[in-house]
Structure formats: structure tokens, C-alpha cells
């Protein structure tokens, strides 16, 4: 049985070991850096450290955020590792673009000056402007060690809730925090939990939606790869709050590293008595299983996700009934996304008032974004709600590379839209982004410059929706195919104004009549680009010319037909 005392003992043991180990060298082995072969970097560093006999340890850690500088390595001096107050300690050194050949230099620099040619300025706005709640452990703990998560303060909130709070108080705390669903739609999390808690049913389920399908987003992947226990703790707390004893994590099979680390985390949590039967000696039980998705974006939709866990085709059902009342095997089911669960433990640990104090009036806390595209600094970032897009793109992201000008930022993936330069001063919150014709979405944020053709971007997202449509309802199945056809005609320079009018009509109709969110939001990328970049559409239609020089439009209709 796991108790508070044991958590403290574990913490003390880990800290003692860490102090004994001296300096710490952390190598990012999350997907991004790993694809740049950071595993080889870790191996050389380990070899070099052993050879030199220096008092240091080399660890693989999760994502440190600045992927564009990968492979990323950090060096925490022994004094910093041991320090109680991290703010006054000797700062952590950060290195980018580290190759196996740099290992000896880094090991040699432990008590010396930093390796200048690899050093990343940790005071730069990319780091300074971020606020980390969800990502607080990412890149600083070993994701495969439950002890390190505990030493970083983990599972305290769970134990306190189990022993000192009623389920209703947990729901109340989440409601009071103002947390809203991070999967994209922004439904109030507390309200959802309360509905499931209230629903009648002997068996209830909690599900973690980790089927991250937005083609420009990898937040969930990174969280699961870097700090899986944070998600587990959130799920266990949710299960306690709503009265569920069985749970599923629906995870993309395309994320093998996340699958593996989550598997380790579940095993470790069970071993420590934090998961399974009689958690921490209480009557609360929760059995968690991983279910692998198989490449279907629509399974991010709740009813489709449920169908998939039940082993069926991932086609959505009309709602009501909502999963909160009748979900998995017709039982009340709570479905939240990875980032939503990752926020739960900090809220309970530090209180709803602390959380609600961050962000804006209607959007509380922080949001994790996968910042990519034509920005100098790209990677995984976490910012307080309400920060402007301009601050994110130009301060954190460092703006677009020299020689190009900013054109648009895309948020919300295939359900979102492209926001132009003139609107960059809007705050990032659910409502402002929706007013601008986009959505918060799950956190993909792609910066585009003058080399991107907005019609082609709209067509790209429509192709995505067309191939991800489940095919059940007519407007989404046939409508996305028709809209894709019309957008293709425009990019080929063979479209007429009649085609454009038809496209607009279809956008409205498909959005209003589709069965689920996929079809309902599929027109958004078209509508937002039409709203802000209509001139690009007209250039393709009237002048048979692509202003960005991306599309090949030179042919005439007769030639295409002949």
C-alpha cells in the first residue's frame, strides 16, 4: 500500500541518488530528437562520461521543447541538482545540434565554461515567455521512472484526493478551476465530469483520447513520451471523481515510443499500488488498458472512438445520447484528451484558485502548442491562455526566416483556419480564435510565409477530410469529395466563378448538415482562407495564376477534357 510517507521516502531516495551522481546530462530522446539520432548522442555521452571518470550521470529525458535545435542536450550542474531553491542555483546549460562527436567536449566542460559553439541562450524569449504546467517535467525527468515522477511531486494530489476529498469535491475543484477540454472544442471539463458522476450506471468508464490526428500536432505524443505518469494520475483522479473502475487509453499505433512508455508507466504504477485494485489502500480500483488506434482521424470524435474500442468501424453516432450518459457498452463514459488529464494533478495539487488565476476570463490555464512551419524556433511550447498570436510567433517563434514575410498562421488543423497578419494581436483563447474563423484545436500551430499558396493549403486540408471521412453521412462523404474536386480545379487554373460560388454553397451546407464534427468543421480551412485571402482564389480563377508560385495552372478547360 502506497502512502504519503512512502512517496516522501521515494522522493528522498531519488534525490539522494541524484546528489550522489553529481552533474546530470540529459539527452532528449523524444520522437523529434530521436529522429535526429539522439540515441547515438546519448550512447557517446555515456561512454565518454565513463571514460573520463567524471562524477556525472547521463539520462534520456523527454522533449525539451526547442525541437528546431535538436538533438538537444541539457547539463544540470551538481549544485543545481541538489539545490532546494532552483531559482538561485547555477543555471542549467542547454546545447543544440549535438552530434555524437561532441560528447567528449561536453563531458570535459562539466566544471568548466560551457561549450560555446553548441550553447543555446536559455534566457531567450522562446524559454522566458513560456509558462509550464503540463510540460513542467518534460525534459527534466526520466519518463520511464515512476520514482523520478514521484520525486518531482507526482502522485501527491492523487493520494490527498483519495484520503481527504470526496469525489464530489474533486469535481467541484475541477469545475472551479475553469479547465476546458484541450482536445479542441473547449467543453468545460468540470461540467463533463459532473454529468458522468451524476449518470446512473453500475459500471462507468474513463477514456483518454490519445488519438492525436491533427496532421500538424504532436503535443499529446510528446506529453506521453516525456511524462506519462502525469496523464495516468489525471485519469485515476478522474475515475475517482466520476466513479469509474475501468479505463482505456486510446492511442495512435503510429506512436510506438508513446505506447511503450505508457506501458511501462502502467506497469510501474501497478507495482507501486497506484493503479489496479485498492489504490493506495483505499476501496478505489481502476484497471487501465491501452487500445491502439489504426489510422482513422475520425476516431478522435467521441462516439467513433467508442465504436473503435468496441472493435467496430469508427463511425460516429448521432448525439444525444451523449457518451457521458450512454457511451462505451452503453455505460456512462468520460472521455478527455491527454492534455486535459495532464492538467488535473497540478490543479488538485495547487488548488483551483491558483489555476483560475492564469489565462483569460473564459479560458483558464495554459495551452500546449506544436509550433511548426516557417518560424525560426519551432517545437513544443506552453503558453498562458490570452497571449497574443504575435507574441507566440514573433517572440517565442522568432518570426519567419530572413527573406520571407509572414502570411498566415494555421490553428486547429483540418477543423481550423488560417489567420492573417492583421489579426495577430488577438489573444489565444477559445472564443477569440473562433471569432477569427479558426479554432483552438488540439494545439497544432503552423506558421506560413509568402511561399505558401492559401488555396493549395485549403485543398490540402480538404483532401485530408475527404480521405478521413468515415463515409456514413452524405454531406461529409460526398460533399468533401466535391469540395476537394472544386479546390483542385481552382489550383489547376481551370475553375470559373460558378465553381467558386458552388464551393461556398457546399461549405455552408456540409458544415450545417454533417453528422459529426469532422464534416461540420471540414469547410473551415476553405472559409477562413476565402475570408482573408480571397484575392488568391481570384488570381487562380481570373488570371490562371498562383501568386505564391506553388500551383501549376496553365492549361485551358478544353485541354483538360480532351
Amino acid at each position: 500500500m502506497m502512502s504519503h510517507e512512502e512517496l516522501e521516502q521515494t522522493t528522498a531516495k531519488v534525490q539522494q541518488e541524484q546528489r550522489a551522481a553529481g552533474d546530470r546530462i540529459n539527452v532528449c530522446v523524444a520522437a523529434g530528437c530521436l529522429s535526429l539520432h539522439s540515441d547515438a548522442v546519448q550512447k557517446s555521452l555515456t561512454d565518454e562520461a565513463k571514460k573520463s571518470g567524471a562524477r556525472c550521470s547521463v539520462r534520456g529525458v523527454g522533449c525539451m521543447g526547442l525541437c528546431s535545435a535538436g538533438p538537444v542536450v541539457s547539463h544540470e550542474p551538481a549544485q543545481a541538482v541538489a539545490a532546494e531553491d532552483k531559482t538561485t542555483a547555477q543555471p542549467t546549460r542547454l546545447y543544440g545540434g549535438v552530434q555524437p562527436g561532441h560528447a567528449a567536449k561536453i563531458v570535459a566542460s562539466l566544471n568548466q565554461e560551457p561549450v560555446r559553439e553548441l550553447a543555446i541562450d536559455t534566457a531567450m524569449p522562446f524559454f522566458a515567455k513560456q509558462t509550464k504546467i503540463v510540460l513542467e517535467n518534460s525534459g527534466s525527468i526520466n519518463p520511464e521512472s515512476i520514482e523520478e515522477y514521484i520525486a518531482a511531486g507526482g502522485y501527491r494530489a492523487l493520494l490527498r484526493a483519495l484520503h481527504e476529498m470526496t469525489p464530489a469535491e474533486v469535481v467541484q475543484e475541477i469545475s472551479a478551476s475553469g479547465l476546458r477540454g484541450r482536445g479542441g472544442a473547449g467543453y468545460p471539463t468540470g461540467l463533463k465530469w459532473a454529468t458522468v458522476a451524476r449518470a446512473a450506471g453500475a459500471t462507468k468508464y474513463v477514456i483518454c483520447n490519445a488519438d492525436e490526428g491533427d496532421p500538424g500536432a504532436f503535443m499529446d505524443r510528446s506529453v506521453l513520451e516525456s511524462d506519462p505518469h502525469r496523464v495516468l494520475e489525471g485519469m485515476i483522479l478522474a475515475a475517482y471523481a466520476v466513479g469509474a473502475s475501468q479505463g482505456y487509453i486510446y492511442l495512435r499505433a503510429e506512436y510506438p515510443l508513446a505506447v511503450q512508455r505508457l506501458g511501462v508507466a502502467i506497469r510501474e504504477a501497478k507495482r507501486m499500488g497506484l493503479l489496479g485494485a485498492e489504490i493506495a489502500g483505499t476501496r478505489m480500483s481502476l484497471h487501465l488498458e491501452i487500445r491502439l488506434g489504426a489510422g482513422a482521424f475520425v476516431c478522435g470524435e467521441e462516439t467513433a472512438l467508442i465504436a473503435s474500442i468496441e472493435g467496430r468501424r469508427g463511425t460516429p453516432q448521432p448525439r444525444p445520447p451523449y457518451p457521458a450518459e450512454s457511451g462505451l457498452w452503453n455505460s456512462p463514459t468520460l472521455i478527455n484528451n491527454v492534455e486535459t488529464y495532464a492538467n488535473v494533478s497540478p490543479i488538485l495539487a495547487r488548488g483551483s484558485a491558483w489555476y483560475a488565476a492564469q489565462g483569460t476570463a473564459k479560458s483558464k490555464g495554459t495551452k500546449v502548442f506544436a509550433l511548426s512551419g516557417k518560424a525560426r524556433n519551432t517545437g513544443l511550447i506552453e503558453v498562458p491562455m490570452g497571449m497574443t498570436l504575435r507574441e507566440i510567433i514573433f517572440d517565442i517563434g522568432g518570426g519567419v526566416p530572413a527573406g520571407h514575410t509572414f502570411k498566415a498562421v494555421q490553428t486547429g488543423g483540418p477543423s481550423g483556419g488560417c489567420i492573417p497578419e492583421s489579426l495577430l494581436d488577438i489573444p489565444v483563447d477559445y472564443d477569440s480564435l473562433m471569432q477569427a474563423g479558426s479554432i483552438m484545436g488540439s494545439g497544432g500551430m503552423i506558421v506560413m510565409d509568402d511561399s505558401s499558396c492559401m488555396v493549395s493549403v485549403a485543398r490540402f486540408f480538404m483532401e485530408f477530410c475527404m480521405s478521413e471521412s468515415c463515409g456514413k453521412c452524405v454531406p461529409c462523404r460526398a460533399g468533401t469529395a466535391q469540395m476537394h474536386g472544386l479546390l483542385t480545379r481552382i489550383t489547376e487554373g481551370v475553375a470559373t466563378h460558378r465553381d467558386l460560388d458552388l464551393l461556398v454553397r457546399l461549405c455552408e451546407m456540409v458544415g450545417a448538415t454533417s453528422l459529426c464534427g469532422l464534416g461540420q468543421t471540414a469547410p473551415n480551412p476553405v472559409l477562413s482562407t476565402l475570408r482573408y485571402f480571397k484575392n488568391e482564389y481570384l488570381a487562380h480563377i481570373e488570371d490562371k495564376h498562383c501568386p505564391a508560385g506553388v500551383c501549376e495552372c496553365a492549361t485551358t478547360p478544353a485541354e483538360v477534357n480532351a
Binding site: G295, G314, G373, G413
Partner: protein, 165 residues
């Protein structure tokens, strides 16, 4: 009562035991269909009709339903994969960095469309949706190895390497 015995294994191949193991772990429940198909694909590399028929009858799922599921999810392959796989990421960041052109180049060089395998069974070409390496877009994955900032030449070199005896 009709004969409710489970079907016998399709062949002596030991991999069927692994498939059976997955079904047993889930108590031969109908909802284990997707999990079991994952195991089949991991074991055999793809799903053929015999495998789907075996899994369907073991789990008492109607064959049409099993086939409907197997063809719904894009990760399931119904044809044997090539000796090598070439995946082109078509995530958004890769797209705006020219992944579409890369894909066209790959299709032209290999003489096949995305989702197909060359007639000699050497290379399968696949389109994937965001592998989370957006900072190094565009990205191609050759077998297990990820290539950042991929160019047409990256593909040409890899194809050359695969063709070397």
C-alpha cells in the same frame, strides 16, 4: 446446440499461436477484433482474407463486419508489404515545406502510387500523417529510419542503396 468449437489454426505457422494468444487474452470477446488484427499485421506484415476469416470466426464476428473493420482503418494493409517501405509524411508542416512534390517524385521514381508496392515487391510507398518531427520538415521514413529535411535526392540515394546487391 450447434457446434461452437473454435476454428482450427489456418496452418502450422507458429505465428498463429501469437494471434490466438491475443484473442485468448481478451477472452475471445468480439470487441478484441481490432486488437487481434493488429497482432496479425505485426506477425505477418499484412492481413489476407484467410487471416480475417480465421479471426472473424474465432471471435464470432460476421465476416463482412470483420472485413469492414479491416478496410476502415488505414493502418491495416491487405496486401503484402514490399521488402522496404518508403513513407512520406504528409502532415501540415511537411506539406508547406514541399512534401507533395516529394511524394510526386517518389511516385514517379518508383512508378507506383502512394499505398502501392512495386511489381518486383521491393518497395512499398506510403503516405503518413504527421510523425511529430515537424521541426525537421519535410520528413521521409525509410524502413525504420527517419530522414529530416528530406529532398528528392534523399530518396534517390536511398533507392540506389536498396538496389545495391
Amino acid at each position: 446446440m450447434v457446434n461452437m468449437a473454435r476454428p482450427s489454426l489456418p496452418s502450422e505457422d507458429k505465428r498463429w499461436r501469437i494471434v490466438q494468444g491475443t484473442m485468448r487474452k481478451h477472452g475471445y470477446s468480439r470487441n478484441a477484433l481490432i486488437e487481434t488484427l493488429h497482432t496479425v499485421q505485426q506477425s505477418f506484415g499484412f492481413l489476407d482474407k484467410d487471416a480475417i476469416r480465421f479471426v472473424a470466426s474465432s471471435l464470432r464476428v460476421p465476416p463482412s463486419q470483420a472485413y469492414g473493420v479491416a478496410t476502415f482503418y488505414h493502418l491495416f494493409q491487405l496486401r503484402p508489404p514490399g521488402k522496404h517501405t518508403c513513407q512520406v509524411c504528409l502532415g501540415t508542416a511537411c506539406f508547406i515545406n514541399g512534401a507533395e512534390r516529394l511524394m510526386k517524385h517518389a511516385e514517379k521514381s518508383l512508378g507506383i502510387q502512394a499505398g502501392e508496392t512495386t511489381p518486383d515487391g521491393e518497395v512499398s510507398l506510403l503516405a503518413v500523417r504527421c510523425v511529430g518531427s515537424c521541426s525537421f520538415a519535410p520528413v521521409m521514413i525509410f524502413d525504420e529510419k527517419t530522414h529530416s529535411y528530406a529532398k528528392s535526392e534523399t530518396l534517390d540515394e536511398q533507392l540506389q542503396a536498396w538496389r545495391q546487391p
